[in-house]
């Protein structure tokens, strides 16, 4: 059984290699965009059909984001990024479960051994995708924080010369920001890749019948990982845009 930790390359555009995970995430993006376009053509006040589904999805996400921020203006400001994050991750996770992903491919000779290279592979089963999402999220958290409370106040959270303890807390905060990138990317990658390996092994052990409960588990895990990524991003944004000096003034009273 061939399980490759790294996503396999299936082609090139110029000098940039294209992996099967990248290809699958393009398909997921196209699915999301086409669904959005089709559902918002000829919109009616009382929605029917795909517009109803899309409104339900957007409404649920809005409630989810509002439950963390508790402030409609802030929710509306950060909603596009967070909702896109959620939809992209869940589309990639669920698309990786369809039949054909991981099984349709071609044989290639690598270093004298003949390997099977699947054409499609779950978008988040590649550490590059999850690392990109994690880096993008943490950079945006910093930018949101700086825009919301001002550059110097935000940097003052990390570089704090008021007392030696505050200085060390600031350094720990910097290390914490970097560790969040690692934890975001590895949590998503580990869950999805381990799910793929689990399905492959169970299919090998007990074909046709064995994987059925594990597919249910993978559907659930795909949803939960998208939810956890989005909720963590929300919590970090909320922490970044909160002005801590206001809290200290209130506590002093």
């Amino acid at each position: 059984m061939e399980i490759s930790l790294a996503a396999e390359k299936i082609g090139h555009i110029g000098s940039i290699p294209i992996t099967n995970s990248m290809f699958t995430s393009w398909i997921a993006t196209i699915v999301l965009v086409v669904f959005a376009i089709l559902a918002t053509r000829k919109m009616t006040m009382v929605p029917k059909g795909s517009q109803k589904t899309l409104e339900y999805i957007v409404d649920s996400l809005l409630h989810l984001v509002n439950s963390v921020f508790d402030n409609m203006t802030q929710t509306k400001k950060y909603f596009p990024f967070l909702a896109t994050l959620f939809l992209f991750i869940i589309a990639n996770n669920w698309l990786g479960l369809l039949p054909g992903v991981g099984s349709i491919g071609f044989h290639e000779i690598h270093n004298g051994k003949e390997l099977f290279i699947p054409l499609l592979r779950g978008g988040n089963a590649d550490l590059n995708t999850t690392l990109a999402l994690a880096l993008m999220t943490m950079v945006l958290v910093q930018i949101f924080g700086m825009v919301a409370i001002g550059f110097f106040k935000y940097v003052g959270r990390f570089v704090n010369f008021k007392s030696p303890i505050d200085f060390f807390v600031g350094i720990l905060e910097i290390i914490g920001e970097f560790s969040r990138v690692i934890s975001f990317s590895f949590r998503l990658f580990g869950n999805i890749f381990a799910g793929e390996v689990l399905l492959a092994v169970i299919t090998w052990l007990l074909p046709y019948v064995g994987p059925v409960p594990f597919y249910f588990l993978e559907i659930f895990v795909g949803f939960i990982q998208a939810l956890v990524f989005t909720m963590l991003a929300m919590v970090f944004i909320k922490m970044a845009i909160t002005d801590h000096s206001e809290h200290e003034e209130k506590a002093a009273h």
């Binding site: 399980i3 490759s4 590895f186 580990g190 869950n191 381990a194 390996v197 956890v228």
Partner: protein, 75 residues
């Protein structure tokens, strides 16, 4: 012992020991959450949210161990 055997053993121990902590942690999270729901059934919606989030945090540590095991075995 030859290298291949050591790699397999290392992968097995990595995930085996690495899953003990998170399993205990998630069990404790679930126990406290269920106890809180038992005391106050109306708050079950509010308790479920943080419970799922915290369980995902704890599970992530098990996933780190799994990734190390996979790297040892397949790279």
């Amino acid at each position: 012992m030859d290298a291949e055997a050591m790699k397999t053993l290392a992968a097995a121990i990595a995930i085996g020991v690495g899953a003990i902590g998170p399993a205990i942690g998630i069990g404790m999270i679930g126990a406290k959450a269920v106890e809180a729901i038992g005391r106050n059934p109306e708050a079950s919606g509010k308790i479920q949210g943080p419970m799922i989030l915290t369980a995902a945090f704890a599970e992530a540590v098990a996933i780190y161990a799994l990734v190390i095991a996979l790297i040892v075995k397949f790279v």
